[in-house]
């Protein structure tokens, strides 16, 4: 049997719910400011100042929501699996709570990517839904999130639920590249769309800079809501400990 590795002390500090709760409380405002500034800036730039697309006109401005949401939805799944693996291997409570918090956030982000994709599709293709490779992969990603979320809520024991969710998300992470590859391949076979929405050669800087701002802004936003959810989760699970009692009484 392999002995468990020794990790640096800060790693184990992260495992302490109280310490994590406090550090997240300190980090929260900074990320919140970052998220608001970047997203407002990026949205105004993208909506009002970036030039229109020569083919799609102004409907392309949906890209500033669609692409960041899609990127985040995928990153979030990866984070969920990594956090799940950490909680399985090192039995770290906080990692389990982070993994649990990821599922609903990721699902809403995937939903946002799908909704904006569909809305974008109407002026571009003339229909609300096209079996485009990206949209289809995103739909499957949403299914994967729903699976993890349902499994979580079906198991009453929180610890068991966390472990089961972690195993499922790890299985999902192994599958995601295969799914992506197979869907892309399937799409080239049944070529439904003449051009893809988001892959275009050489976007000028005044078009992609706002996109970059929005992507970074979305990451900050994700950090904020993940910390909010994890903090709520920490409080609920640690309600028997003294520090939560003090915190509740002080409020």
């Amino acid at each position: 049997m392999a002995k468990s590795w020794k990790m640096p002390t800060w790693f184990y500090r992260l495992g302490s719910p109280r310490w994590s709760f406090e550090i997240m409380g300190k980090l929260l405002p900074w990320f919140a400011i970052g998220a608001v500034v970047l997203m407002v800036w990026g949205a105004i730039w993208g909506l009002a100042f970036a030039p229109a697309d020569y083919q799609q006109g102004n409907s392309f401005r949906i890209i500033y929501i669609h692409v960041p949401a899609a990127i985040l939805a995928q990153s979030c799944y990866l984070l969920m699996a990594v956090a799940g693996a950490i909680s399985l291997i090192w039995k770290m409570k906080v990692a389990d709570m982070v993994a649990k918090s990821c599922a609903p956030i990721g699902a809403t982000l995937a939903l946002l990517a799908l909704a904006t994709g569909a809305i974008w599709g109407k002026p571009t293709w003339g229909t609300w839904w096209v079996w485009d490779a990206r949209l289809t992969s995103m739909l499957i990603l949403l299914f994967l999130y729903i699976g993890v979320y349902t499994l979580h809520s079906a198991i009453e024991n929180e610890i068991t639920a966390g472990k089961a969710g972690a195993v499922l998300s790890l299985v999902g992470v192994v599958n995601i590249p295969i799914i992506k590859y197979s869907v892309e391949w399937w799409n080239t076979l049944h070529q439904t769309s003449t051009f893809t929405m988001t892959e275009r050669p050489a976007m000028p800087p005044e078009m992609y800079l706002p996109l970059l701002l929005m992507v970074i802004g979305f990451y900050c936003f994700f950090a904020v809501v993940l910390m909010l959810r994890t903090r709520a989760e920490i409080l609920e699970r640690e309600k028997r400990s003294g520090w939560v009692r003090e915190l509740v009484e002080a409020s």
Binding site: N58, S59, I65, L112, V225, A232
Partner: protein, 71 residues
């Protein structure tokens, strides 16, 4: 500014409905993600506070009963 007037900006060259609908959904989802954990936390704190008070009351009454028995 890419647009000539504010009404042009709202119209988005005829695609206004789609663009604004997409942004509205985005705002809704962002707000949901921020508000729901905050609500949950608030709810938890209220419930927990009530529970702690109830436990305290019980403990006080227990103590009162015991001291009553002794006297």
């Amino acid at each position: 500014m890419f647009f000539d007037s504010f009404s042009d900006f709202l119209a988005m060259g005829g695609h206004g409905f789609y663009v604004w609908l997409a942004y509205a959904i985005a705002v809704a989802i962002i707000i949901y993600n921020v508000v729901s954990p905050l609500l949950r936390k608030k709810q938890f704190i209220e419930q927990h506070k009530r529970r702690l008070k109830r436990e305290q009351r019980l403990a006080e009454r227990q103590a009162a009963v015991e001291s009553g028995e002794q006297s």
